[in-house]
């Protein structure tokens, strides 16, 4: 049976038009002008036990709003939603005891407390008994390498360290469902790897259902079998990563730094997208010319200082879905 059922979920924000000055603020108390912003426009999906879902989309697409409704923070305007048999915002306290939530942008820990004391306070909040607390904590400490961080006040942690602690904190009560909103945002490469590795294990070894929002395609490629793409408050695509690839053009990018800024690059089979001094950005279709072929050809014709291959950024993938996906709207 589905662990999460969402049907026609809609959320509109009222954006108050602020007026300037003290008098304006007073006038705003009496009567206000509002602008409506549809953050979620009737989204529908189902998620089963043990899935690891990537929820992707550009900034402002509605990812966080979805997570906030699913975790009982926001009440939607319309639609139905049932998670673990609860309507999140109606039975909030009983419901949130069974889930874990991490917001990449904002810590769940107490800013001024050493990490271990935050954990201990959470243990009280979630009524975790001593034995299971100790067991879970030990496990988290070894999996996330937290030993050296436990006595540090949260405010002194680096972003990557803080994220590892936040992950541990969200799991102390052993939830079967975990929401991660942008867990890799702003992290350096090693921290990203640590987070991904941990999430993967959590899902595989413990069967925890994970819903992870991101706008980093690498998160998705290394972690998720199923990807939901959201844009402008609508689910544009819901399926496997392979499906997503198929729908968008397979184009890849080759970025080349030449030794000589004056030379014009000659690269058969590739299209020049931009040029900035010695740096050239090329697009190519790997079905027509393989990356290896292309690189060999470029290197044989020019003195190359550096080159690397990239996937198009997620924003472009979304645009692609919009433009060519035959989105009924």
């Amino acid at each position: 049976m589905a662990q999460i059922q969402v049907e026609g979920l809609t959320k509109t924000f009222q954006i108050a038009k602020r007026r300037a000055g003290m008098l304006g603020a007073l006038a705003g108390v009496v009567r206000r002008e509002h602008r409506e912003l549809v953050a979620l426009d009737a989204i529908t999906f189902e998620i089963g036990q043990g899935e690891l879902i990537g929820y992707v989309g550009p900034n402002g697409a509605g990812k966080s709003t979805t997570i906030k409704i699913l975790s009982g923070i926001l009440v939607p305007d319309a639609g139905h939603c049932e998670v673990l048999g609860f309507v999140p915002w109606r039975e909030r306290r009983r419901y949130v005891a069974a889930i874990g939530v991490v917001f990449g942008q904002r810590t769940q820990l107490w800013w001024d407390l050493p990490v271990v004391e935050s954990f201990d306070l959470l243990r009280s909040i979630y009524h975790v008994d001593d034995a299971s607390y100790r067991r879970t904590l030990d496990e988290m400490v070894s999996l996330l390498d937290l030993e050296p961080l436990l006595d540090t006040p949260v405010r002194q942690l680096s972003l990557g360290q803080r994220m590892r602690c936040d992950l541990a904190a969200s799991l102390l009560h052993e939830p079967s469902l975990l929401f991660l909103d942008e867990p890799t945002i702003g992290l350096d490469a090693p921290s990203k790897l640590a987070v991904r590795d941990f999430v993967k294990r959590l899902n595989r070894d413990r069967g925890v259902t994970v819903i992870l929002t991101t706008h980093d395609m690498d998160d998705i490629e290394t972690l998720c079998e199923r990807v939901m793409v959201i844009g402008d408050g609508r689910i544009l695509q819901d399926g496997s990563l392979a499906d997503l690839r198929e729908r968008v053009s397979p184009e890849r990018r080759l970025i080349v730094d030449l030794e000589d800024p004056e030379v014009t690059l000659d690269a058969p089979g590739a299209r020049v997208i931009s040029r900035e001094g010695p740096r050239w950005e090329l697009a190519f279709d790997p079905r027509v010319v393989s990356p290896a072929q292309l690189i060999t050809q470029v290197a044989s014709r020019h003195a190359v200082r550096d080159l690397f291959v990239e996937n198009p950024p997620i924003e472009e993938v979304i645009t692609e879905i919009y433009d060519h996906g035959g989105l009924a709207s």
Partner: protein, 266 residues
């Protein structure tokens, strides 16, 4: 862990966190002490004036003042989290409260604790004690109990006001400071025997924001004197219940507010 135990732990955490910024903690305490001293002079000046109120002796006015201020200081110490609640809402920090399986009111109350506000408690208690020692009526166990009941009802009422005020932040975070000023103004007004005010005022403080029910009526009973407003003795004894009813009602309004919480876009 029960709610009260959790609250105590959260308060301990908040106090320890404040201690980390030792300099600012010391400054705050010093500042509060300074304010308290200045307020003493204010009271003295006011009493000098109101002491000559017809019908009321200076000692009696001191008892009203003491009860209201002791009650207010209790709610003030625990309500720091609500005072700054507008900020939590604006910054979306209330998200964190909602994803935890505990009462949101309890968590907000426990999030901050203002130890330095204890100064007001001492000030109110001193005025109350001095007033009681100077009034003519005898203090027995019944009067003592009634005083405690009045102070508890008063603390509940003030807490209810604070909760209502914080609830406004769910709709508009700009009005919070304005409301704050109004609450303090209300306290100032209600710490004198309400019989000296006009009818409309008295009704407001009896039926809308029942400050009179937690201060004026029970204190009249404690003083053992007839009420110029003519309320019966039994009513004076049960009146402080209105404070608890008010607090309870404010909890209901809070729950409605929570459903209107919109968090923040990032």
């Amino acid at each position: 862990m029960r709610g009260s135990t959790l609250y105590r732990r959260m308060v301990a955490v908040s106090i320890r966190a404040q201690m980390q910024y030792r300099a600012s903690f010391l400054l705050l305490s010093l500042g509060q002490a300074g304010v308290t001293v200045i307020e003493f002079f204010g009271i003295w000046a006011l009493f000098d004036r109101f002491g000559r109120l017809p019908d009321w002796t200076l000692a009696e006015v001191a008892v009203f003042y003491g009860v209201v201020n002791v009650a207010f200081s209790f709610s003030d110490a625990v309500s720091r989290g609500f005072d700054l609640f507008g900020q939590d809402v604006r910054q979306g920090d209330f998200d964190r409260v909602l994803v935890r399986p505990r009462s949101s009111l309890l968590q907000v109350a426990g999030s901050r604790f203002a130890i330095h506000r204890i100064g007001r408690l001492i000030q109110g208690a001193v005025v109350l004690a001095v007033g009681l020692s100077q009034v003519e009526s005898q203090m027995g166990p019944v009067e003592g109990l009634l005083l405690v009941f009045a102070i508890a009802g008063g603390a509940a009422l003030f807490l209810g006001l604070v909760v209502l005020q914080a609830t406004l932040a769910f709709w508009s975070t700009e009005t919070l400071e304005l409301m704050n000023t109004m609450t303090y103004g209300g306290v100032q007004t209600a710490q004198y025997p309400i019989a000296i005010y006009r009818e409309a005022f008295r009704r407001f403080f009896t039926f809308v924001v029942p400050l009179a029910c937690v201060a004026y009526f029970p204190v009249v009973a404690v003083l053992g004197r007839p009420d110029p407003l003519g309320s019966p003795f039994w009513f004076q004894c049960v009146a402080p219940l209105a404070g608890f009813a008010f607090l309870f009602a404010s909890f209901g309004v809070w729950q409605i507010g929570v459903r209107h919480y919109t968090s923040t876009g990032s």
